[in-house]
């Protein structure tokens, strides 16, 4: 694990230029916060509020913004799990995991173990498009965790799945994270998912978003599997400052 420095995010302004008849659009304004090591921060807010943009900025995919990002270490291992699985369709699931690591890296020895752990033993030699979306998302999750990252960024990794499948994947994520806690920034618009997974929830306001609320989630690991406790905590966090 890298040093215990927090990740510091300070985005003064992020603007998308006017394209195709759309006006210039400022999606983020004065968004500043810190994430402590091994904290599971969930970024939530209405669609279009800039939460995915923020994650792309932290990942270094978007460098056109005013502000600065301090990742807490010179070269932290950072992994991104995307909204779509983004597996190479012409490589098998196992090959996709192997390719995500440098050749000869010792972490490649853990590939089969993590494939077993996420329940893809039978499908590991299949091409991704010949498996279900749920399985592809499992593979994407495995590819993220096999990196043993210092910082894990996730952008709605469980959307467009049916409820039981999404729930199974959430439990898998919690399980993987518990056995190797790492600093997480997780974007979702699903409040229940936010409360079930996060140790802290940052709510972004719609339009030129700034942070609207910053709440710790007061749930024990066992509470998180209980529907009524999750619902009660959801009420506490989200109904104190209703959505505008």
């Amino acid at each position: 694990m890298a040093s215990g420095n927090p990740v510091r995010i300070r985005v003064k302004r992020k603007t998308f230029p006017a394209i195709g008849g759309r006006d210039e659009n400022t999606v983020l304004r004065d968004v500043s916060f810190e994430v402590s090591p091994r904290e599971f921060v969930v970024l939530t807010g209405p669609s279009g509020c800039g939460k995915s943009t923020l994650l792309n900025i932290v990942a270094g995919l978007d460098t056109d913004y005013e502000g600065d990002i301090d990742l807490g270490a010179a070269h932290p291992r950072m992994t991104f799990i995307f909204q779509t699985p983004r597996l190479l369709p012409w490589r098998t699931i196992r090959e996709n995991l192997m390719l995500s690591l440098p050749d000869g890296d010792p972490r490649q020895n853990n590939v089969d173990a993590i494939i077993d752990r996420v329940g893809l033993t039978e499908a590991k030699n299949a091409y991704p498009e010949r498996t279900s979306l749920g399985m592809q998302r499992r593979a994407a999750l495995a590819r993220g965790f096999i990196q043993e990252p210092d910082i894990l960024l996730m952008d709605e990794p469980f959307v467009s799945l049916d409820d039981p499948t999404a729930q199974g994947l959430r439990e898998l994520l919690v399980d993987l994270w518990n056995s190797r806690p790492t600093t997480v920034m997780f974007v979702t618009h699903d409040r229940t998912e936010a409360v079930m997974l996060g140790t802290r929830i940052l709510r972004l306001a719609a339009g030129s978003a700034s942070i609207k609320a910053d709440e710790s989630v007061r749930l024990s690991p066992s509470d998180r599997t209980q529907r009524d406790k999750v619902q009660a905590e959801l009420k506490r966090i989200f109904e104190s400052t209703p959505e505008t």
Binding site: A59, L61, M78, T79, F80, F82, T84, R86, L88, P89, W90, R91, L99, S100, P102, Y127, E129, R130, R143, Q147
Partner: protein, 260 residues
């Protein structure tokens, strides 16, 4: 209306073969009929052409001419694929390059094959290399255009993934970029083969080469020897079809095997 019949894959293949056979038989029958009606010197029948084919094959002329032409086809084909692919990827990846070179490409696409061949011989002399270059230059713009389309459609999602998972240039090329271009390369290869072998014959005929199918056909044309022209044409069609079904189609199926 007849109810739709369900055929097993083997049954479907057999039926397709049967149709092909019926269609080819009809063609040969029509040819024989036309040959009987018309002057047999201008249009010899199938049996006459087969007879000439047998003679050419027995003397060895067919095989030596075919093989030398096939070597030229292969050289021009690989040269065109290589250069065309590099140009296509370069202009498909960089918008500026595309804007700049687009008009060049249009020019070369519309330049008649005959002009390229004539100018090549004038400027470079009638050498073996000129023949191959002239054919390749004819084909390069087509390959470049198809590969440009492939490069334009490269997935940004996957290149972001490759960047964040530190693939590096070599791994990105091999595992991310080339597999996406493979279908375009396969299409370019198949249409390319068809074009290249036709142009090779013209180049051989015009360049005064003493060998090759093009030379044989040119010589036969001088003698109004229609059976020899048809015999070589027939032999060449068969060889190119063997390359198509024996090499190109299986290759294409292989690079697409991951598809659902």
């Amino acid at each position: 209306m007849l109810p739709a019949r369900k055929l097993s894959p083997a049954g479907a293949t057999a039926e397709r073969l049967l149709w092909t056979l019926a269609s080819l038989t009809t063609l040969v029958a029509l040819w024989s009929l036309a040959a009987m009606i018309s002057d047999s010197r201008h249009l010899p029948g199938p049996m006459k052409v087969l007879e000439v084919l047998g003679q050419e094959s027995a003397s060895g002329a067919l095989w030596s001419n075919m093989s030398i032409t096939l070597v030229r086809v292969a050289c021009a084909f690989f040269l065109a694929m290589l250069i065309g692919t590099m140009i296509g990827i370069a202009i498909g990846s960089y918008k500026r390059a595309d804007q700049f070179f687009d008009s060049w490409l249009v020019l070369f696409l519309n330049l008649p094959a005959l002009v390229i061949i004539a100018l090549s011989y004038v400027w470079l002399g009638t050498t073996e290399l000129t023949a191959i270059m002239a054919v390749a230059i004819n084909k390069i713009p087509n390959v470049a255009v198809q590969m440009r389309e492939g490069a334009r459609q490269l997935s940004r999602d996957l290149s972001e993934m490759a960047k964040l998972y530190n693939f590096g240039p070599w791994k990105t090329l091999r595992h991310v970029t080339l597999p996406q271009l493979a279908p375009f390369a396969a299409a370019a290869a198949r249409s390319g083969l068809a074009l290249v072998w036709k142009i090779v014959l013209v180049v051989e005929a015009l360049g005064g080469h003493a060998t090759g199918v093009g030379h044989q056909i040119h010589a036969a044309f001088g003698n109004y020897d229609v059976p020899t022209i048809l015999a070589y044409a027939l032999a060449f069609i068969v060889v190119i079809q063997i390359v198509e079904f024996g090499i190109l189609q299986p290759l294409q199926a292989r690079v697409m095997r991951w598809r659902r």
